[in-house]
Point group: C2
């Protein structure tokens, strides 16, 4: 029988923020797949769960998903990982695919599952939700994402700032992901809209490298991290 | 010494979706506070963790937070709960306040913490993130909340549908909370915008009363649940 594939969220960084279910599935897994950013880097998701796994008993696969915006480069990486996963499933092994945070929010697991389903239509799969980095970032910064009738927008920083400007105008809270791209332009926009005092920068939340910075203008370009978020909340009280 | 207060997310309903940290804090707690909707109803958050608590050893408080939109009624309920919590903290007891899902997203814990901080400015407090119902609803419905450069909006249904219409026009995915209010108007709007085939209704996700319904027009008014979400995702493939 063909194995079952689990897409398991491991939370944003603190091993104690794994769910009880994720912990059980990771411990039971014969095969664990966890992407990493390059040949010389370790898998961040795998590092979060390292105390819960046993490489002597479990097969660990860490395909490289390059930090690229090139669809062809990424597509090739995802094809390769899907092939690796499929080979294990076809041997009859269940497999746990680790994702940072929650698998439904900006996770690469969806691309892998899509490819697997194209090859085996009735594959048994289960997505196991995790704590998202946006929820932890808010908790660590001591602010709410939304209360009562408020509205929340979540989006990555892109080249075009217009959607960001529009969301900042219309929503109570805006969470901007991957702000390392175009951070200077974001700071200018927030200044122009009078929102600099309502923004918090959070990077690597839940890890020992966590940074929470309220003065965005004080952040230097070389400090910016790939795993960085800016939360703009209009109802942050003036410090 | 005055006790420490923990706002602990217990996830959306499945006891296995508690985090390892929430489980530890709930087991260690001398006092647990968990709101319920009425005198004759049990606390939903408490019911999720019931196998992890021991009423013989732990004090359980379940203040009533009425299902009301009246700010005065709610304010009074929150004042009362904050008084109860403060009384325990002032005895030197640490206290765990349970919240459904994640404490940063539409949780009443913020109102309690705000009141406590007004009385004891330097109170020790910690917010412990949990899996949000929107993440689980997406996982159970088999769809993504956002991928790549996509944008996500989250908002409760209100009397005014214009913000919903505007978000549906601008965002890749829109999550609507508490859709039991004004559901008929929402179905009309989705029909008008050609989005009925892109919407999924999810209620009580993670519990044994979970419902996932893709044909919104087939839902009867008396089926609608307070804990209900509609996810509209433009990139849902036509069934």
């Amino acid at each position: 029988m063909i194995g079952k594939v689990y897409g398991v969220g491991v939370g944003p960084g603190d091993p104690e923020l794994l769910t009880v279910k994720a912990l059980r599935l990771i411990r039971e897994a014969k095969v664990i797949c966890s992407p990493r950013a390059g040949d010389d880097s370790e898998s961040f998701a795998l590092s979060i769960v390292k105390d819960y796994i046993d490489p002597a008993r479990q097969k660990i696969m860490t395909p490289v998903f390059p930090m690229s915006m090139d669809k062809e480069v990424l597509g090739k990486a995802w094809d390769g990982a899907a092939d690796q996963v499929l080979a294990e499933l076809e041997k009859g092994n269940d497999l746990v695919f680790l994702t940072l945070g929650d698998p439904s929010l900006y996770s690469t697991y969806s691309y892998i599952l899509e490819r697997i389903k194209k090859r085996i239509k009735d594959i048994r799969s289960e997505t196991v939700s995790g704590v998202s980095s946006i929820n932890l970032a808010a908790a660590r910064a001591g602010i709410d994402l939304a209360l009562g009738q408020e509205r929340l927008a979540v989006m990555p920083m892109g080249r075009d700032l217009e959607p960001v400007r529009s969301a900042l105008a219309d929503f109570d809270t805006v969470v901007l992901m991957k702000v390392n791209r175009g951070f200077g332009k974001l700071v200018s926009l927030l200044g122009e809209m009078g929102l600099l005092g309502k923004a918090v920068y959070v990077s690597r939340c839940g890890t020992d490298r966590e940074k929470i910075i309220r003065d965005l203008q004080a952040i230097k370009a070389d400090e910016l991290d790939y795993f960085s978020i800016v939360i703009v909340r209009k109802w942050i009280a003036a410090g």
